[in-house]
Amino acid sequence: DTAVSQTPKYLVTQMGNDKSIKCEQNLGHDTMYWYKQDSKKFLKIMFSYNNKELIINETVPNRFSPKSPDKAHLNLHINSLELGDSAVYFCASSQAAGRTDTQYFGPGTRLTVL
């Protein structure tokens, strides 16, 4: 009965590879998010989709591309991985994109680029 799930939990890969992280929520929420947490635990929003429409697109390299096939899924594809991409990536969802809506987070995907 996991609310927000991510796969894989751990991802170890070589520089230059392309990888994807998948996220699914079974809460019936309309809005989903991707966050990056760096080694100092600082959390930063990357992208958000509301009803499959991109509403937040922060200044991240073009190598990062989100894809939302439906409201329950938001995937993150990363091309040409670099050492600096190593981080924990969290998916989250909320009922809507409103200012009062609570975001619920997945367990995270720890990406290590060698």
Partner: protein, 113 residues
């Protein structure tokens, strides 16, 4: 612009004692404030939020937070700390007209037996 500050990297408290984790914010317009907790190797868990109304907000696991508009603060409190409360705590703020939730840098709470 909106921002949130957590001035303490770490807070140490003895089990059974009250705890406070500080948060101050800067936002134009009305602030919407949230607290989350992160246990090791886990995602963030929602604790509580302030939207409007009563300045004292009660949340999960016995935590509460007090919204103080004049001091632009939203400190997290608990009357009696448990060892199991040891974790990383994040304050976050969103303003009226923004989709974005901005997180503070986090405060590590260590409750010693």
């Amino acid at each position: 612009a909106q921002s949130v500050a957590q001035p303490e990297d770490q807070v140490n408290v003895a089990e059974g004692n009250p705890l406070t984790v500080k948060c101050t914010y800067s936002v134009s317009g009305n602030p919407y404030l949230f607290w989350y907790v992160q246990y090791p190797n886990r995602g963030l868990q929602f604790l509580l939020k302030y939207i409007t109304g009563d300045n004292l907000v009660k949340g999960s696991y016995g935590f509460e937070a007090e919204f103080n508009k004049s001091q632009t603060s939203f400190h997290l409190k608990k009357p009696s700390a448990l060892v199991s409360d040891s974790a990383l705590y994040f304050c976050a703020v969103r303003r009226d007209s923004s989709y974005k939730l901005i997180f503070g840098s986090g405060t590590r709470l260590l409750v010693r037996p």
